[in-house]
Symmetry: C2
């Protein structure tokens, strides 16, 4: 099942995507819902960020080649993370399908995409085991963890490097039925494929992260956990269109513009 | 004016505190409100976290003696922050006035308080100047940035060190009329004063932080910004009661318990 969140007729609503049609619901996928008689065309609505998380988690370094490539660029010996220590991103930066990634006017040219799977929590959960962890998951969506590498290297925190307004595209919808082991993540810029990797080839898997996190933190319905990206990333610039596809979910597509001087 | 958020008669509501009485409102201090005819006694309601932030910001290192003391404990040369780089805390960890700080069963004894002023944003804001920054502030409340120092030193991120469930007491209410330059922050454990410092003696002041942040991020109504703590902090343990007072706001009081084995 695919959950879409959208604006139409002046209100923001959840619906269930069936082909190119949306079945509008009352309520939401977290607290409960009922189908209504309203049907809409997907291309007739404005898609919204599929959920505003209560807490926005991000794994950061969680694919081996990405860690090795980043260390190599800095001339350092790569150090793989030794434990599933979760990090955070910020809600101000979230944008939806089709909305522009705006590069701040004083950013360097080193603004880069990171294609990631995003786990959407559906139920309150504490003290999960790896065996039962995925039962709290509602579904999966796609994130683009846009990063300004100069700020990432120089600032004391990741605030503007990772969380400048518009730096966190998420969508286009939540897919509840995904075969993680078959999913491939593909990044394209202006239609040209930049990287393709097995989505589930993580250093620490989703169940491991959720089990470890929930030893200390309660997961809440609507929380999201971005799982990190793989490989070498490249710069994106004004005029580009960046697409993150995860097979079985869909394509998150955002144009790139640079803030005017 | 003091804004309280509380539970009574099975619902969660905002009200205005007048002495020991609450004037209940419809709406909230961010989107707008109207006073109702309902009056309640402060000691007859359950106080709630005064606002659930959309983004929960925290300055981290922002008072000189605290930075120097922490470096000294690690045997390092203190390095004061060179720029107002904001960090984050997580909503899962928020608790209200009177609720227990629960130390995870595998935490060390090095769990410590940090008394902080918390800025509550009232209006959307972008590209503020230091001169106009405080105009977006609704008011101020109090935070206790509880920290497990062993995890803080060893984990790759601050997730469980700073954001284990219950590690972020915030309250008791939002004070809209505060003379920042007169405010004193006082920490007491079991009634014994541990530290007292001028709340506004920050390395980077509130207006400077908000101006710099808002160059890159839009501040939203209900966002909170915790401004850091001063001095040496000490351990708290099962059975303690930790109080953070900021003169002109009030007292945030929470008991401490250790999770059962």
């Amino acid at each position: 099942m695919r959950w879409v969140r959208y604006a139409a007729d002046g209100k923001e609503t959840y619906g269930i995507l069936e082909g190119q049609d949306i079945v509008e619901v009352e309520g939401d996928p977290f607290a409960g819902y009922g189908k209504t008689a309203t049907r809409r065309k997907l291309d007739g609505v404005k898609l919204l960020v599929p959920v505003w998380p209560r807490t926005f988690y991000a794994a950061g370094l969680n694919y081996a080649d990405h860690v090795i490539a980043a260390a190599s660029k800095r001339g350092e010996v790569p150090k793989l993370p030794e434990a599933a220590d979760i990090g955070y991103r910020a809600n101000n930066a979230l944008i939806a399908q089709g909305e522009p990634i705006v590069i701040p006017k004083d950013a360097t040219e080193r603004v880069q995409y990171e294609g990631e799977i995003a786990v959407v929590i559906g139920k309150h959960a504490k003290n999960l085991t790896e065996a039962n962890a995925l039962a709290c998951v509602l579904g999966y969506t796609i994130g683009n963890d846009v990063s300004e590498r100069t700020w990432q290297g120089g600032d004391r925190t990741l605030w503007r490097a990772k969380n400048s307004d518009t730096f966190k595209p998420m969508g286009p919808w939540i897919e509840t039925d995904l075969d993680l082991d078959k999913a491939m993540t593909i990044v394209r810029v202006n239609g040209q494929e930049k990287i393709r990797f097995a989505t589930n080839s993580m250093i620490f898997g989703i169940a491991h992260f959720l089990a470890r996190m929930s030893r200390y933190v309660t997961l809440h319905p609507g929380d999201v956990v971005w799982m990190g990206t793989e490989g070498v990333t490249e710069n994106i610039k004004h005029g580009d269109v960046c697409e993150i596809e995860i097979t079985g979910i869909g394509v998150l597509r955002n144009p790139v513009v640079r803030e005017r001087q």
